[in-house]
Structures are given as structure tokens and as C-alpha cells.
């Protein structure tokens, strides 16, 4: 009895240390990351074509293509490392939150100056990230302030330039992933990941940061404080997409969490049931742009949704991380 206890004590850390993370890394790349970016590139290609065919902000085809592509971006938007960070691509696809109103300022400046940067993709890629991507296009398509600024010709060229730039960035990320897949799944050597632990930490960090962003930023910003709710701070509220982003991100993070916890069925079950309650709560809300946070009842419902996401974060931090033997490390939300 004593011997087996000793043997167990001796064996456990070695087992824990020697966790083979290869299958999880490969599975996550092949079944979560690559398909997500492939879908995004298809959708942004369609968006670029739609803008080229009809740049009228009210065009049903253009708006549909926009919404589909934005959906596909939100579903991969937690993967903030490697190809998405090269050349500021993720920032150029989605510059938000925008607490100082850089996006309307950047767009107004382009329109007022009739900036010729819209004429080529290279020169447009040099302009401020605030005037590019899904949030800039949202203002051009849905904000009345931009429906009659400057000339119709320039607005059309700008909408087409933003759509083409979105497609360029989405494709570049997808293309880079064909090489980066090997970097993440074969750590050591020339890879920036020194070990499978570090590669795993990257994915775990994506899960935890994604949850943090959805709870603290997507929900926390419009919630403001009880005395001073801030409905105008809701993400993509002009296109009524705020709640949709919460739901899409949870669905995608649930998929990632399931893959990362695949070898620990109990934790996987805990996570899955926590995701299920959070997604149910999100789907039960009938407040697409979080306008109701201004009322006590509406705020209470959003707060309950936030709490259910925080429950997932607790399981991730106290069960999944320690069991995998990794921590979330530092992320871009660490500053103030």
C-alpha cells in the first residue's frame, strides 16, 4: 500500500509533465482555426464582389454580404496571435472599442479630403486602421451621418476600398496560416513556441482572453454602471449586431474549449454545461443592441448573461488551466 502510494506520488508529476499535446494542437488547428479562416475568406470575397456590383449602402445584397462576413470574423476574432497580428491585420479588420471616436473622424477626413488612398489597395492599407474594416464599413452602411457626406462617387469608392481591404486582410491571414499551422503544431526548433506547453498556452490564452473580452468589453462597456449605463457604447449597435456578437463568440469559444479539454471529460462536461447556460441566456434576450441596459430590468438581464460568462471563466481558470498545467499569461487587455 505504502509502495503504491509512493509510486503514485512519484509518477504523477512525470505524467503531468509529459502530457502529449500534439493531438489537441493538431485537432484545434485543423478543425477549429483553419475552417474558421477559410469561411471568413469566402465571405469577404463575396463582400468585395457585392460592393463592386452595388455600392449603395441600402443594397440588400451588400448588407447581407457584410453581415455574413462580419459573422465569420467574430467567430475567429478570439484567435489574436500569429497571422492575425502580422501587419496589424486584426486591428484593420475590427478596430473596436473606439472610445475616442477615431473611426468617424478617420472616415470624415478621408471623405472631406477625397483622399486618393482609396484608389489602390496598397495605399489604402497605409491609412489609419480606424477608417478600415468592419466597423468603418458599418458607419458607411448604417450611420445616417455618412449617407450624404461628401460626394456619392467618393463614398462609393470608399465603401469598395474598405470591402476590398477587408478581403485582402482576411485572405492574408488565411494564407499565412498554411505555414503557421506547422509552427503551432510542431513547437521547438525555429518555431516561436519553444515547447508544446507554450503552443498550448497560446490556445488556452485565446480561450480565456476571448471570454474576458466578451464579458468585460462586449457586455461591460454598454452596461457601464448602474447609475450611468452606456447603451451607445454597444458593439456594432447601428447594425443591431451587439447581442449577435456575444452569441457567435460564445459558440466559437465553446468549440475551442471542447477541443482543449478533450482529454479531461469531467472538465469538458463542466465547461460545456456552463457554455450551454450562457448561450441559452444570450438567445433568450430580445435586445439586439443592448439598448435596454438603460432600464433596470434590461440591465439585470444583461448582467445575468455576463455572470454566466464569468462562470465559464472560473472553470477555465480554476479547473482547465491547472489541469493542463498552463496559465493564461499576459494579454492585450492587461493595460488600462
Amino acid at each position: 500500500m505504502r509502495i503504491s502510494a509512493f509510486a503514485l506520488a512519484f509518477t504523477l508529476p512525470i505524467c503531468a509533465h509529459a502530457q502529449d499535446r500534439g493531438p489537441i494542437l493538431a485537432n484545434t488547428v485543423e478543425s477549429h482555426i483553419l475552417p474558421g479562416y477559410a469561411a471568413l475568406a469566402d465571405a469577404t470575397g463575396a463582400l468585395k464582389q457585392a460592393a463592386r456590383a452595388d455600392c449603395d449602402p441600402n443594397s440588400a445584397q451588400l448588407r447581407e454580404a457584410y453581415n455574413t462576413a462580419f459573422d465569420d470574423w467574430i467567430s475567429v476574432s478570439h484567435l489574436r496571435f500569429g497571422p492575425s497580428e502580422a501587419e496589424d491585420r486584426a486591428f484593420a479588420l475590427a478596430f473596436w472599442p473606439d472610445s475616442k471616436g477615431f473611426t468617424p473622424k478617420a472616415l470624415s477626413r478621408l471623405i472631406t479630403d477625397e483622399d486618393s488612398a482609396v484608389q489602390t489597395s496598397n495605399s489604402f492599407a497605409e491609412t489609419s486602421v480606424a477608417g478600415r474594416g468592419f466597423f468603418a464599413l458599418e458607419l458607411m452602411l448604417y450611420d445616417p451621418r455618412f449617407s450624404d457626406q461628401g460626394s456619392a462617387e467618393y463614398r462609393c469608392a470608399l465603401i469598395q476600398a474598405i470591402a476590398a481591404d477587408i478581403d485582402g486582410n482576411a485572405r492574408a491571414i488565411g494564407t499565412d496560416w498554411s505555414d503557421y499551422a506547422a509552427v503551432l503544431t510542431n513547437p521547438g526548433g525555429g518555431s516561436p513556441y519553444r515547447s508544446e506547453d507554450e503552443a498550448m498556452q497560446e490556445l488556452y490564452k485565446a480561450l480565456m482572453t476571448g471570454l474576458e473580452f466578451t464579458a468585460e468589453t462586449r457586455l461591460g462597456r454598454p452596461m457601464g454602471t448602474f447609475d450611468r449605463p452606456r447603451p451607445k457604447r454597444a458593439e456594432a449597435r447601428r447594425s443591431d449586431r451587439s447581442l449577435r456578437h456575444v452569441e457567435l463568440s460564445l459558440i466559437s469559444l465553446r468549440d475551442l474549449a471542447a477541443r482543449l479539454s478533450a482529454e479531461h471529460p469531467e472538465i469538458a462536461a463542466d465547461l460545456d454545461s456552463a457554455f450551454s447556460s450562457a448561450i441559452d441566456r444570450a438567445q433568450a434576450l430580445e435586445d439586439p443592441a443592448f439598448a435596454d441596459v438603460a432600464t433596470p430590468q434590461g440591465r439585470f438581464r444583461v448582467e445575468a448573461l455576463q455572470q454566466s460568462i464569468n462562470d465559464i471563466r472560473t472553470i477555465g481558470a480554476t479547473e482547465l488551466g491547472p489541469t493542463l498545467g498552463i496559465s493564461a499569461g499576459f494579454n492585450s487587455l492587461d493595460g488600462d
Binding site: 477615431f102 497605409e126 486602421v129 454602471t225 464569468n310 462562470d311 496559465s327 499576459f330 494579454n331 492587461d334
Partner: protein, 423 residues
């Protein structure tokens, strides 16, 4: 013989590694050095702020180009020790909760004083972005009428700062004072800082910008508040102070706090929010010290603070060295190659930030570097960003090597205390 030799080698190795382990400093000693350096840095910041206060008083008593320039020089000098304290922010709640009073940024400066017509008025995010308290002795705030007939430290700290819950309403601290000394930088991407004339402080005839008496009151009150806030923080790090006590409450958590401060400042704050964002936006206002064009120094001394905390060695503004057992010593005892990696990366970052600083001092200002299509500027700024991002990776490796992995989750309100979000 062979056997004997092998046994001896094994024995020697055993002794050597035992001796090696004995060289590891205690965590308590490492924390003591860390706290001593904090005390020295905040004390230096206080001393420099008092010099700034003396220079501000001289400016108000006798406004001239000479007294204004002396006050500006004192402000620049005061930033040197203060920026080196920023590495204490994210790891120590007592610092982070307080920091907004002294170094909040970015700010909607129209809250404080007159601004150029192009600045615009109230925004979606901030109704008070153009309040101009210096010109308005009375105004409405969240349904109440505020009596601002006298501008006091209390008015600034308790009513105006973060008015309406908006962080961009910065009424106090270094950057409010910076704005009052330099004014808006109207040079866009061109060379040159803000150019507020000394006559903005001339009383009676000759006053420019209007309300020179209230402007002087504001500057005096903001400087007084800066001094008292720094006095408070320095005392928290002194023997028996609360910051020291919190740090020492749990040794492993204390060491983790050092690394959290280093990593969070390196990555999310400095590399991300302060450097890369400005470059991506090509906005000349997106620089940390935008009125004075002192951003290159602000970045440099932030980086230096991270490095000297790791090495456990700081040189005070009067030249006195403060050093002792360091985090570096602790890492050497666990994994010497990881310590070497950390030292190289910190040195690389300092070289990149030094390049930024020397180039700016040679006349290529930070706001010029931010201009769209300015490739030289982009390379300089991204050099700093890349160094900071790269060093963060090694800081994470140290967290893992010292087995501090799970500690950072302590102290996170939303995770440890789910009810907190309802409060």
C-alpha cells in the same frame, strides 16, 4: 578507480548543486529589494514634483519666458523617476487604484482650458469634452450645479476628475499640468510641441487666453495635488506602509506581482495601448506626452523601470544606488539560461527604446514618426514594440519556471468574487 571517480563526481555535483541552491536568495529578500526600489522611486518622484511646484510658483508669481521654460524643464525632469515607477502599477492593487489620479491618459483637454476650434465640442462618449472649467465658474454636472468659482485641489480631485464617469475627463496629474504648461500641440505631424505663451499667466492687462487668474489657480491646485498624491504613495512603500505589507502577505504572490507588473506594462499597456495603437491610427495626438513632445522619454523610462526591477538595482536621482537580492538572482538559481535570456531581451528593448529617444532628441519628433507612410518612424516605434512583446514571452516563461502559474488569478474580482460584478 573509475567507480571511485564516478562516485566522487556524483558527490561533487551534489555538493555543487546544493551550494548553487544555497545561493538562491530568499523570496523575502527579493521582495524587500523590490519594495526598497519602489520607495526610492516614489520618493524621487515626490522630490522632483516639489521642484516642479517651486518652478510653477515662480511662473505664477512672475510670468515670463524664463519662468515658463523653467517650469517645463522641471516637468520633464519629474517624469524621469515617475515613469520608472510604472512597472509597479499592474502588480500592486494599491498603486493601480491610485495611478489614475497622477498619470491618467489620454485626456479630453477641452475639459480644462481653451482649445483650438478644430478640437470639436462634446462627443458621443463625453459630454464634457469641451467644458473648459477655467472659463466657467459654474456648470451642470449629472443634474447638479457645480460651484467652481474657486479652483481648489478638492474641486479637481473630487468633482472634476473622471467627471460623469468618463476616464478621458482627466483633471489632475502630470498630463493636466503638462497641458497647462505647453498647451495643445498644433503642429500636427510637423516638428514642435505645444506653444502656450507665458502671457496666459499674466494677471490683469496682458493676459492672453482669458481667465489668467483661474488658469493660475488651476495650475497651482493641480501641482499641489500631484505633490500630496505622491507623498501618500511614497509613504505606502516606506517601512510599515500598506503597499509593503500587501506585498509581503504571501511571498509567492509577491514574486508573482513583480512579474505581473513587468508583463502587463510591457505588453498590453506600453507595446499595445501606447505605442502600436498610435502607429496604427497615424494620429499625432496618440502619443503619451503629446503636449510636450516628451513621449520618447516616457517610453524609455517605462522600459528602464522594467529592467531595473528585474535586476534589483536602481540609481536614485541624486546618484545613490539602491540594490539587493533580485528576481534575476532567483531565476538564476532555477534556470540560469532563462535568466540570461531575460537579460538579453531587456537589453534589446532598452537599445530599441534608446534608438527612439536619441533619434527624437536629434530632432525627429515622435509625432512625426507616427505619420502615415513614414517608414523610418514606423521602424523605430515597432523596434520598441517588438522588443517589449518579445520580453513578455520570457516573462511568461519565468512565471512557469518559478511555478507561479496559478497565482495571478488571485485578486481578480470578477473571477474570485462573482458577486463583485453586481456591486
Amino acid at each position: 578507480m573509475t567507480k571511485f571517480f564516478a562516485a566522487t563526481s556524483a558527490l561533487t555535483l551534489g555538493i555543487a548543486s546544493a551550494a548553487f541552491a544555497a545561493d538562491a536568495p530568499s523570496k523575502a529578500d527579493v521582495l524587500t529589494t523590490y519594495a526598497n526600489i519602489a520607495e526610492a522611486k516614489y520618493d524621487d518622484s515626490l522630490i522632483a514634483a516639489k521642484s516642479l511646484q517651486a518652478a510653477v510658483n515662480a511662473l505664477i508669481a512672475d510670468p515670463s519666458d524664463a519662468t515658463l521654460n523653467a517650469a517645463r524643464a522641471a516637468w520633464i525632469a519629474a517624469r524621469v523617476p515617475y515613469q520608472q515607477t510604472e512597472v509597479y502599477r499592474f502588480g500592486n492593487a494599491i498603486v493601480d487604484d491610485w495611478e489614475g489620479k497622477v498619470n491618467a491618459w489620454p485626456l479630453d483637454e477641452g475639459l480644462i482650458d481653451y482649445v483650438d476650434a478644430n478640437y470639436g465640442g462634446p462627443t458621443d462618449e463625453n459630454e464634457f469634452a469641451a467644458l473648459n472649467v477655467i472659463a466657467n465658474p459654474s456648470f451642470e454636472l449629472s443634474g447638479a450645479t457645480i460651484d467652481a468659482s474657486e479652483i481648489t485641489p478638492e474641486l479637481l480631485g473630487e468633482t472634476l476628475h473622471e467627471a460623469d464617469g468618463i476616464e478621458a475627463n482627466v483633471a489632475t496629474g502630470y498630463h493636466a499640468i503638462e497641458f497647462l504648461l505647453w498647451g495643445q500641440d498644433m503642429n500636427g505631424h510637423g516638428a514642435g510641441a505645444g506653444n502656450r505663451p507665458y502671457t496666459d499667466y499674466v494677471q490683469g492687462d496682458g493676459c492672453t487666453g482669458g481667465n489668467c487668474d483661474r488658469r493660475a489657480q488651476y495650475l497651482s491646485a493641480a501641482t499641489e495635488l500631484l505633490v500630496s498624491d505622491l507623498e501618500w504613495m511614497a509613504s505606502q512603500w516606506a517601512e510599515g506602509g500598506e503597499a509593503r505589507a500587501a506585498l509581503n502577505a504571501n511571498e509567492a504572490a509577491g514574486v508573482s506581482a513583480i512579474l505581473t507588473g513587468m508583463g502587463s506594462l510591457s505588453y498590453g499597456e506600453q507595446a499595445g495601448e501606447r505605442m502600436r495603437l498610435g502607429l496604427m491610427l497615424n494620429d499625432p495626438e496618440e502619443e503619451h506626452d503629446c503636449f510636450s513632445d516628451n513621449t520618447h522619454n516616457s517610453h524609455y523610462y517605462d522600459g528602464l523601470g522594467i529592467q531595473n526591477v528585474y535586476l534589483g538595482s536602481y540609481t536614485r536621482i541624486d546618484g545613490t544606488p539602491v540594490s539587493g537580492a533580485s528576481l534575476s538572482d532567483l531565476v538564476i538559481a532555477t534556470d540560469p539560461s532563462l535568466d540570461a535570456e531575460m537579460k538579453v531581451k531587456l537589453a534589446n528593448t532598452m537599445q530599441a527604446l534608446g534608438r527612439l529617444k536619441s533619434t527624437a532628441e536629434a530632432g525627429f519628433a515622435y509625432d512625426q514618426m507616427l505619420e502615415r507612410g513614414n517608414e523610418g518612424g514606423e521602424v523605430l516605434i515597432m523596434g520598441g514594440v517588438d522588443g517589449l512583446v518579445d520580453q513578455t514571452k520570457t516573462i511568461e516563461r519565468i512565471v512557469a519556471a518559478l511555478k507561479l502559474d496559478q497565482i495571478e488569478f488571485e485578486g481578480s474580482d470578477s473571477l474570485d468574487n462573482p458577486d463583485a460584478v453586481f456591486q
